[in-house]
C-alpha cells in the first residue's frame, strides 16, 4: 500500500513537471482573463457556497470555512 502511494505521488509529480510548460509573464494574457479566474464572480460563488452548505451535508474544499448559520 505504501509503495503504491509513493508510486502514485511520484507519477503525479512527474506528470506535472513534464506537462507544465515554462510560460513567461508576457505569455499569460489568456490566463489573466477574468473568466479564467478560479472564482470569476465572488458574490455568485459565495451565494452558491451558502445555499449548498444549507441544503447538503458537504462543505469546504478550496478555502477555510467562514461563520455558520442556523439554516434549517
Amino acid at each position: 500500500m505504501r509503495q503504491f502511494r509513493t508510486t502514485l505521488l511520484m507519477s503525479i509529480c512527474s506528470l506535472m513537471l513534464i506537462s507544465c510548460a515554462d510560460v513567461r509573464a508576457w505569455e499569460r494574457g489568456y490566463l489573466a482573463r477574468e473568466e479564467m479566474a478560479w472564482a470569476p464572480d465572488a458574490l455568485e460563488s459565495s451565494l452558491n457556497d451558502h445555499i449548498f452548505f444549507s441544503k447538503e451535508a458537504s462543505s469546504g474544499g478550496n478555502n477555510a470555512a467562514g461563520g455558520g448559520c442556523g439554516c434549517n
Binding site: 499569460r28 464572480d41 458537504s58 478550496n62
Partner: protein, 385 residues
C-alpha cells in the same frame, strides 16, 4: 530597431505583470469595485402524498449581497462584505409513517417561519513581491443564531510564478438560541465551535490552462443537532475533510473558457460525497458573455439517519431524520448572461436544482421524503471606479 523591440517586450511584460490574475489572481486591485446582487430563492412545495397534514409551502428567501473591494495604499486591499436575507416558509419538523407504511414528513408550524439574517465581514490583504497574506473578521446574526468568525490566509509563488502555494485557517464561535424553546421543549441556548484549515497548490500548465488542488480540514464541536426538529440527536463533534480540484482552460478559437471542478468530501458522521461541476464562459463580442453551468452532487447517508423518527429510542442514541443527512443525488443547471460595459457590469442568473434519492450512486436503503427542489434567480451589478 533592436532597442525598440526590447522596449516593447519590457512594456508588454510590465503590463502583463500588472494584470490581475496573471500570477493566479494575486496582485493588488488597481481600482475600486462595488458590487450588489439581489437573489430570490424559492423551494418547491411538498406534495400532499409526502405531507398529508398541514402546510406544504417551503422556504422563500430574498438575499441582498454587497461587496466593496478597494486598493488601500500601494500594497494593500480592503474587502467589505455585507449580506441581508429575509426568509419565510416552513421546514421539516418530524417524520412518521403513513397508513400504507410509507414515510411522511410534517412541516413546522401552521404559519411557518419568518427570520432574517444579517452578516458583515471586513478583511484586508497585503501584497508582497512573491505572494500575499490577508485576514478577515465577520459577524452574522439571525433571530435565533449568532456567529463570530475570523480567518487568515497566505500565498506564495514559486517556479517563476508558475506555482502558487496557499494556506489558511479560520475559526467560528456560534451560539444557537431557538425561538419558543419553552413551548416546544427545545434547548434554550447552546454553543458550537468550528475550526478549519486548508492548503492548496495552483499550477500554470501552459499559456491557456491551469490547475488547482486543495485540501481542507474542519473540526466542529458543541451543539450540532437541529433544535427545530422534534427528534434530532447528533454527536457533539464532527471532523470533515474535503479535497477539491479545479481546471481552467481557455479556447482561443472559440473565445471561451472552460471550468471543471471536482470535490471529494468525507466526515465522521459517515457521509461521503462527490461534487462535479462544469461551466462554459462564452464571450460574445467585447461586451457580452453567456455562462451555462451544470452540477452533479451525490452523497451517502449519515450512520444515524432514519427516514421515520423513532420516539421510543433513548435520547442517548443518535438519531436524525434531517433530509440533508440522507443518501441522495442532486442535479442543477444554471445560465448567466453578463454585460460588461467598461465601468458597469450586469449579471443575470437563473438556476434550477433538483434533489432526488434516485439520482444517488450510493446505496439508498432509507429514502428521505423531504428532498429539496428550488429555483433561484439573481441580478448582479458591479461598478468599477
Amino acid at each position: 530597431m533592436k532597442d525598440s523591440a526590447s522596449r516593447n517586450i519590457i512594456a508588454l511584460s510590465t503590463t502583463a505583470l500588472a494584470l490581475p490574475g496573471i500570477a493566479l489572481a494575486d496582485a493588488p486591485p488597481t481600482q475600486s469595485t462595488i458590487s450588489y446582487k439581489l437573489s430570490n430563492y424559492q423551494e418547491d412545495d411538498l406534495s400532499r402524498s409526502e405531507t398529508p397534514f398541514g402546510d406544504l409551502e417551503r422556504y422563500d428567501i430574498d438575499v441582498h449581497q454587497f461587496q466593496l473591494v478597494s486598493p488601500l495604499g500601494r500594497n494593500m486591499s480592503l474587502h467589505v462584505d455585507a449580506n441581508y436575507e429575509s426568509l419565510s416558509g416552513a421546514s421539516p419538523w418530524y417524520t412518521s409513517r403513513s397508513l400504507d407504511g410509507e414515510p411522511i414528513v410534517n412541516l413546522s408550524g401552521a404559519s411557518g417561519i419568518s427570520d432574517r439574517r444579517t452578516e458583515l465581514s471586513i478583511g484586508s490583504r497585503y501584497y508582497l513581491e512573491n505572494g500575499s497574506f490577508g485576514g478577515n473578521i465577520g459577524y452574522s446574526e439571525e433571530d435565533d443564531y449568532r456567529a463570530i468568525y475570523f480567518g487568515f490566509n497566505t500565498e506564495k509563488h514559486y517556479n517563476n510564478d508558475l506555482t502558487t502555494v496557499s494556506a489558511g485557517l479560520s475559526y467560528s464561535s456560534d451560539k444557537v438560541f431557538p425561538t419558543d424553546a419553552a413551548l416546544f421543549n427545545r434547548v434554550e441556548e447552546d454553543d458550537k465551535q468550528s475550526s478549519s484549515l486548508f492548503v492548496s497548490v495552483s499550477q500554470i500548465i501552459n499559456q491557456v490552462s491551469s490547475f488547482q488542488s486543495a485540501l481542507s480540514f474542519t473540526e466542529q464541536s458543541g451543539f450540532l443537532s437541529d433544535p427545530y426538529k422534534l427528534r434530532d440527536f447528533r454527536p457533539d463533534d464532527k471532523t470533515q475533510i474535503a479535497w477539491s480540484n479545479s481546471y481552467r482552460r481557455f479556447f482561443v478559437s472559440a473565445n471561451a473558457a472552460l471550468h471543471v471542478n471536482y470535490r471529494y468530501y468525507h466526515d465522521d458522521f459517515g457521509i461521503s460525497s462527490h461534487t462535479s461541476d462544469l461551466s462554459w464562459h462564452q464571450n460574445l463580442g467585447r461586451t457580452f458573455q453567456i455562462v451555462p453551468t451544470l452540477r452533479y452532487y451525490n452523497q451517502s447517508a449519515a450512520e444515524f439517519f432514519t427516514n421515520v423518527d423513532d420516539f421510543l429510542n433513548p435520547i442517548s442514541e443518535y438519531q436524525s431524520s434531517d433530509y440533508r443527512l440522507s443518501a441522495f443525488g442532486a442535479v442543477s443547471g444554471g445560465f448567466s448572461v453578463i454585460a460588461d460595459m467598461n465601468s458597469w457590469k450586469i449579471t443575470l442568473t437563473a438556476e434550477r436544482y433538483l434533489a432526488n434519492d434516485k439520482y444517488s450512486a450510493y446505496d439508498v436503503s432509507l429514502p428521505s421524503t423531504a428532498l429539496v427542489k428550488y429555483n433561484r434567480i439573481s441580478l448582479g451589478i458591479d461598478f468599477r471606479f
